[in-house]
Symmetry: D2
Subunit: 407 residues, 4 copies
Amino acid sequence: MANGVNRVVLAFSGGLDTSVILKWLQQTYDCEVVTFTADLGQGEELEPARQKALLMGVKPEHIFIDDLRDEFVRDYVFPMMRANAVYEGQYLLGTSIARPLIAKRQIEIARQVGADTVSHGATGKGNDQVRFELGYYALNPDIKVIAPWREWDLTSRTRLIEFAEQHQIPIPRDKRGEAPFSTDANLLHTSSEGKVLEDPWEEVPDYVYSRTVNPEDAPDTPEYITIDFERGDPVAVNGEHLGPADLLAKLNDFGRTHGIGRLDLVENRFVGMKSRGMYETPGGTILHLAHRGIEQLTLDRGAAHIKDQLMPRYAELIYNGFWFSPEREMLQAAIDSSQRSVTGTVRLKLYKGAAHIVGRKADVKHNLYSADIVTFEDDQGAYDQRDAEGFIKLNALRLRLLGRRDR
Amino acid sequence: MANGVNRVVLAFSGGLDTSVILKWLQQTYDCEVVTFTADLGQGEELEPARQKALLMGVKPEHIFIDDLRDEFVRDYVFPMMRANAVYEGQYLLGTSIARPLIAKRQIEIARQVGADTVSHGATGKGNDQVRFELGYYALNPDIKVIAPWREWDLTSRTRLIEFAEQHQIPIPRDKRGEAPFSTDANLLHTSSEGKVLEDPWEEVPDYVYSRTVNPEDAPDTPEYITIDFERGDPVAVNGEHLGPADLLAKLNDFGRTHGIGRLDLVENRFVGMKSRGMYETPGGTILHLAHRGIEQLTLDRGAAHIKDQLMPRYAELIYNGFWFSPEREMLQAAIDSSQRSVTGTVRLKLYKGAAHIVGRKADVKHNLYSADIVTFEDDQGAYDQRDAEGFIKLNALRLRLLGRRDR
Amino acid sequence: MANGVNRVVLAFSGGLDTSVILKWLQQTYDCEVVTFTADLGQGEELEPARQKALLMGVKPEHIFIDDLRDEFVRDYVFPMMRANAVYEGQYLLGTSIARPLIAKRQIEIARQVGADTVSHGATGKGNDQVRFELGYYALNPDIKVIAPWREWDLTSRTRLIEFAEQHQIPIPRDKRGEAPFSTDANLLHTSSEGKVLEDPWEEVPDYVYSRTVNPEDAPDTPEYITIDFERGDPVAVNGEHLGPADLLAKLNDFGRTHGIGRLDLVENRFVGMKSRGMYETPGGTILHLAHRGIEQLTLDRGAAHIKDQLMPRYAELIYNGFWFSPEREMLQAAIDSSQRSVTGTVRLKLYKGAAHIVGRKADVKHNLYSADIVTFEDDQGAYDQRDAEGFIKLNALRLRLLGRRDR
Amino acid sequence: MANGVNRVVLAFSGGLDTSVILKWLQQTYDCEVVTFTADLGQGEELEPARQKALLMGVKPEHIFIDDLRDEFVRDYVFPMMRANAVYEGQYLLGTSIARPLIAKRQIEIARQVGADTVSHGATGKGNDQVRFELGYYALNPDIKVIAPWREWDLTSRTRLIEFAEQHQIPIPRDKRGEAPFSTDANLLHTSSEGKVLEDPWEEVPDYVYSRTVNPEDAPDTPEYITIDFERGDPVAVNGEHLGPADLLAKLNDFGRTHGIGRLDLVENRFVGMKSRGMYETPGGTILHLAHRGIEQLTLDRGAAHIKDQLMPRYAELIYNGFWFSPEREMLQAAIDSSQRSVTGTVRLKLYKGAAHIVGRKADVKHNLYSADIVTFEDDQGAYDQRDAEGFIKLNALRLRLLGRRDR
C-alpha cells in the first residue's frame, strides 16, 4: 500500500506527534501532505497549526482548519445521547464519537484535493486507529491509509524527539521529557491514559484533571439548573435557547464548577486488551442524566425497555468504530423513532461532584405521567383494581403449570 | 376463590394496614389467620407485631417471626448484584428483590401449618401484588390468594380508620391523618411514594429521606473504603470479613453518613402506569459501583458485554416479579458462570452524595489487566502493532464492499 | 363497562358464532349493532353476511363490507416479511398479523357512525381477544369493548345452538354437531385447532388441510419459479408484476399445488397455556424463504445479524398483539432502514411439500456478493490473506490473556 | 514467529493439500512434524494417512489418529443442538462445530510431545483459519501457529501440483486438474464451495451432493420415525438406544434416503466477505427439527423465548470460532439450565427432501401441554376466562395512555 502514494490528507493537531508524522510522511513517501485540523472544541488555538504546517512546506491551499463544533454536537453527540449510550456501564464515549466526524472530513477533503491517501496519528494499540480507519474505508473503500505508528521505527519517545530535533521540528518544553500521561479532548470530554495512570490501584492524581474542579473545591451550595428538550435533544439551559455547541459548552461550565463528570475506568479495548483511563465529561454527564429524566415522563415503557436492551450493543458499535455501519444506522432509526414526544423540561441539582434529577415536567401533548392514575384513593375508572387479578392470574398461568409439573 | 378459605398465611408487618387486613380476613372469610413477619432489615422492632397478633386472636403457634436478613442478602441481593442489575437505568430494585423471599416463606409456612390460602397487604395498583402473587403461584400452583385491597370497600384512608376504630385496632398517632407518603424498607433500601411525591416537578422534601443524610450535611472530608470480592460477591469491608447482612449494613452506615444512594425516579410499573418514587439505597449504591469496579479488572470483555446486553431483561424480570421463573434462572446461570474469577479489592471514595471508584486490584490468578501490554513504548511481542492493520482491514472489508456498491 | 352501551361495531363474519353474538348484543345491551365484514382473502363470499345482517335488523347503512386484501398484504404482511418474522422458530404469524387491521377498521367505523363500543367473536382463552382489544385500546383509548365469549353463559356448543334456534338464526348443517376443529383463514394462511387436533401425538388428519394438497399428491416433477424483490418487498412472480394481494394469491396457488407450507405446531399462547394447532401458509412460506434468499446477496452482515437478533422479539410482539405499539414501530424502523438495497431476483424449486432456494441474483447496484473476492486463487489485492493473521491475533488477544491467567 | 520452530503438530487429513503442507513445513522450518488425523465421521479411511506420514518421514510415535466421533457428537454437536443453533436463519454450523475439537486435540498432543507450534491447512480467506487459531490461542496462549496458506507462494493449484511432483508426493488422479469445488465433511455434514458453485444464480449441480439422494429419487412413500430425548439430548431412534455417534449416523441414513438436509446458501463469513456454499446435514436437519418438537411440549414459554432471543448470538459465536470463550460458555450455561425437563418422544415424517414433525409426547413429569386447559368448553377453574379481561386491560393501559396523549 505504501507504493504509489501521491497526496495524503493528515489529521493534524499541530502538536509534536502529528508534526513529526507530517515530516515523516513527506520524507518516507515523497508525497504531498494536506493537513486537516478540526475544531471540535478541544480548547486549543488552531492558528499555530497553520503556521507549523506552512513552516513544514504545506501549501496554503492544502491547509484545512474547520470549526466542526456544531456539526459534532448536533450530528454525533446528540444522536448518541438520544440512545442513553454508555459503554461498559460508565463511559460516555467522548473520544469514540469524535473520530467518525474527523474521518468523514478527511475523506471529503481527499476528494476535494484529489488525494489518494489519508493518515492519522493514532497508535497501534488503541481504539482510535480502528475508529479512524473504519470510517475512512466505509466512506471511501479505495482510499489508502497510512498509520505511521504501526509502520515507523520511532517507537520510543526518545527516538521521536531525536527525529524532531534532526528535522527542526519545534518541541514544546513540556514534551521534552516523558509526558506523565497522554490526553485527548473535544467539546464532549477529556481523556487521559498512560504512565501515571497505569496502575489501576493508584488514585488518579488531581493534576491529571483539566476540565473539572476537584469536587472538594466545588461550591458549598448546590446549584439548580433546567434543561429543555425537544424531540429528544436539548435546546435550552435555564430557559436560554442555545445552539448545539454553545449548549454543551454551557453545560460544561456548570459541570466544571461543580466537579461533575470525572470517571476513573478500566475498560476493554476493541483490540483486545484492558486499559485504564480517566475521563472528564462535565456537560455530557449532566446531559445524559437529564435525557433519562425527560424520557421518564414522556417515553412509553415498551419503547424505553427496548431502548435499554439495544443500548449496550449500540454503545459497543460506537466504541468499536462502527458509526458508519448499517447496523448502527438501524439502531439509530429505532432510537430516533422513539423520540418524537421526548419534549419537556428537567431540573437538576449540581453539587460537589454529582448531578441529581430533582424534577421534570412536560406539557399535556408530551406527558405520559398521570398522578390521577397512581393515586391510592378512589378514582373514576381509568384503572380498575380488579383488573389486576386477571392480569396476575394469566401472567402466572405458565408458572403454575410449571409448578404442577415439577412437584 | 373466596369460598372455602380455611387458614390464611398473612404477610403481617404489624402496622395499621396489615392489622386491619388481619381483622378483615377473620371477619370476611371466617377463617384462621396465621401471621408471618419477616425481619429483612427494615429497622423496626418485630415483637410488637407478635403482641398485636396475639391481641387479635392469632394463636401463639401461628405467629411466625423470622430473621431473614442473611438469606435475603446472600440469596437475593448478591445474585442480583452479580448481574449489575438496574431497572430503567437507575433503580437498584430494592423493593422488587425482597418480595420473592417473603412469598417463598409464606408458602413454606402454609405448607407447615396446613393453610390453603395466603394474603398480602399490597394495593391493587402497584407492582408488589404482582411480585407476591407470581411468587406464590410459582411455588404452589394450587394456593389460594386473597388481596384485600382489590376486594374490600375500605378504599379510602377515612374508611380504613373507621374500620380500625370499630374493631379496636390501635392506630398510631401519625396514621390518624393522611400520611404524606407511603414507604417500604428493607436492608437494601427505603422507598417512598404518593402524596407529596406525586408532582414529578417538585423536589422531594428532605423529610422524606430516612436512611441518608442530606449530602449538604455530609462530612466535608471524603472517606475512603475498600471492599473485597470473592467470586463476584463482597466478603469484606476495609479488610474486615463480614457475613452478608452485616456487610450490607456496614455499607449502609457509610452510605448514610455521606448521603449516598438517593434517587428521585419516575418509573414504569408492570401494571402499566408511570409512578414517581424516591429511593434510598446507600450500601447498595456503593456495592453496585464496586462490583463494576472489580469486574473491570477480572472479567473478560466477551463476558462483560454479554452481561451488559442481558442485564436490562434480567432487571425487568425482577422488577416484574418473575424471580421464580425459568428465564430468570437461565440468565442467572449465565451470569453466575461469569463470576468465577471476579475476586479482588476495590477502593472507593465517598463524598457528599456520591461514591467514586478510585482503585481496584486483583492477584495474578484473577487479574486480566496488564500495564505491559498497553504501554506505548517498545514491548516484547505480546502485542504486535502490525497485527492491527489486518484486524482493521478485515473488519472493514464488508464496509468497503458496501461502500463500493452504494457509490 | 356494560352500562351505557349505545352503538356497537361488531367484527362480523356472517357465520353462526358472530350471528349469535349479533343477536345477543342487541338483546343484552339493547343497543344498535353495526356490522363490519372484512375481505382479507379468507375465500368466502361476503354478500351472505350482508343478507344475514339485514335479516337480523341491522340498518343497511350500518353494514360495512370492505375489501382489505391489498392493504392487508402491503401494510401488514410485507412489513412483517421484511423482518423474516417467525414465532417460536416455526410459525409465520398468519392469524396474528390480520387482527390489527380488523381492529383498526372497527375503530375507524366506530368513529364514522358514532359508536361507543366494539365487539368481536374471539374466545376467552385465545390470543385473538388480546390482539383485537390491544388494537382497539391503542387506537381509541376510550372505546368500550364487549367480548361476548367472556361474558355470556353460552359456554357450550349445545347452548349456543339452542340460542340460535330460539332466535331463528340459520344454522349451517355442518355446525349442528360438534365441529371437529375450528379454523381461521385469510390470504396469508389457514389455521385450525381444537378437538381432533388436541392430542399432540396424533398426526393431523389430512381432511383438516384445505389450502394445500398432501405433498404425496403433489406433482412428481419439481416446478421452478422466480420472485423479484424491490426494497425488501416482492413485486413480481415469474417476471409478472403483481399488486400485493394478487402476488400473494399467486404464490398461494404455487404452494397449494406443491403441498407447501403445512405446519403442525404446539405453541405458547400469550395468555399462558400451550396449544396445538395446524397452519397452512403456502405462499407465505415461499415468500419467507425467498426474502432470506435475496437478503443473502444484498444485505450486509452487520445488518443481517442485528435483524436476526431483533427478530424473535419482533415476532413475539406481533404474536402478543402489540402491532400498534411504540416498540414494534421502533423495531420496524430499524428493519425498514435495512431494506433499501434488498432488490433482486430469487429462484426457487417447489417440490412435494417443500420450497428450496436454488439461485439468487441482483444487479451491481444491489449486489454485495463477489466471486472474485472469495476465489481461492491469486487476486489483485482486494483481500490480502496476510491481513487474516492480524485479524485473528487481535481477536485472540483477550482469549490468550484469559488463558494465561487461568492456567 | 517463524523463527525457533522446533516441533509442529499438523492437522493432517492425508489428502494432497496437507501432504504438501507436511513437506513444506519440514523444508521451510527445518522442524519435526507431528501429524494428527481425526476421525470425525468424515467417512474416509484413516490408515492411508498413517502410511503417507510414514513415507514423508514422520516418526511412528508422532502419528496420531484418533476416533473422536462420540466426543464430537456428545460434547459439541449435542450442546449446540440444545440451543437450536442456526446461523443466518439456515446454516446448521456443521463445519464450525468441528474445528474447536480438532484444535483442542492438537493442543493436547503438542503438550504431550513437547511441540511449540501447531499448523493447519485452512486457507487465508475462510472462516476455518479463525476457528482453528482462536481455539489454539484460547487453550494455549503461548503456542506458535503456522498457517501455510497465508505464508507460502503456492498460491495456485498449478504451483501446488508442481511442488508435490518435485517432492514425490502422490497426487490422486482427480486432483491433477482443477477440482470443480472443495469440500469438508464430518459426521454432522458435508460442505462444498468454490468453482462451479461460485455463481449464486446457478443451481448447484446434482453431482456436488454426496450425502443425500436427490429428493426426486427418494422413495415415493413417506417414512415415519421417532426420536427419544432425555434432558435435551437425543438418546434413541425408533426406540433403539444409541450412543451419540451411532445415533447421528442412524439419522444420517434416514436423511440420505429421503434427500433431507440439502442447503444452498450465500453466507457472510467472519472475515468480511460473502460466499456461496452447499451443505448437506441429513441427520442434523432431522435432529434440529425434532429438538424443537420436544421443546414445544416440555419447555416453558419464558425459557423458550429467551432461548430464541439468545440463539442468533450463540450461533454467531460458534460460526466465528469463539467456542472456547467465556461468552459462549455463559450462553451455554443458560441454555443447559433450561433443558432439565426436555424429555420425551417426537415423531417425524420423512418425505422427498423434507422432515415434518407429526407428533410429540412426554410423560407427566415432563409435559407442560394440557388439552384440558385449552379446550373450548366448560372447565373446572384451571383457567377463568374472565381473567383475560384484566390481563388485557392492564396490558393495554400504557397504550391507552399513549393514545390519549397522542390524540
